[in-house]
Symmetry: C2
């Protein structure tokens, strides 16, 4: 930091088919994901606010039981503690931004 090359950060396969590189700032965590087509993200929730971006590809995000198709230009704001899951329709590049810092992800680095 403060100039960060994302590709030089450690890569972590957090869930099968979901590989992320993380950047942690004072109050936020940025997760840059590469996801394989068909990979599923199990239902989960966390105390962090999350803003989900699809940078490339098509991703199905299910929030509180409702499914949404996300593509570049459409983002989703997931409130704190709301259960969500996902499925990659195609290979995807995703960016998730969390507030506060994801200490669980930070511990992986």
């Amino acid at each position: 930091m403060p100039l960060v090359e994302i590709a030089k950060q450690n890569a972590h396969e957090v869930v099968p088919g979901y590989t992320a590189r993380f950047i942690h700032t004072e109050q936020m965590t940025f997760a840059y994901w590469h996801v394989h087509a068909g990979a599923t993200l199990p239902l989960h929730s966390h105390e962090h606010e999350q803003v989900a971006h699809v940078l490339e590809g098509v991703f199905e995000l299910t929030v509180d039981g409702v499914s949404y198709e996300l593509v570049p230009g459409k983002i989703f704001v997931i409130p704190r503690n709301v259960p969500h899951s996902g499925r990659a329709i195609t290979d995807c590049s995703l960016l998730d931004v969390f507030n506060p810092v994801r200490a669980d992800y930070q511990a992986r680095d």
Copy 2:
């Protein structure tokens, strides 16, 4: 919210050549910019932490007197209250993420 189509948000020319659409969450502001080649961003600072992404193009960011060339894949974490300025080397698409919410930008919407 919570599913947001960026292109449907109001566009604001904040500085000549710098047009943004904003999304404000509980604790963060996301600013999606289109910037014209050659447009300059005057030196300024703010109490918000800022993470700068170049999504397309080449952008020169100067932080605390040092200039950096930002391209897709290289991000910059600007700490709170640190003076910074910028210049678009080419037409650019930028994403800035702020914590806490930029009340000044929120007031424009």
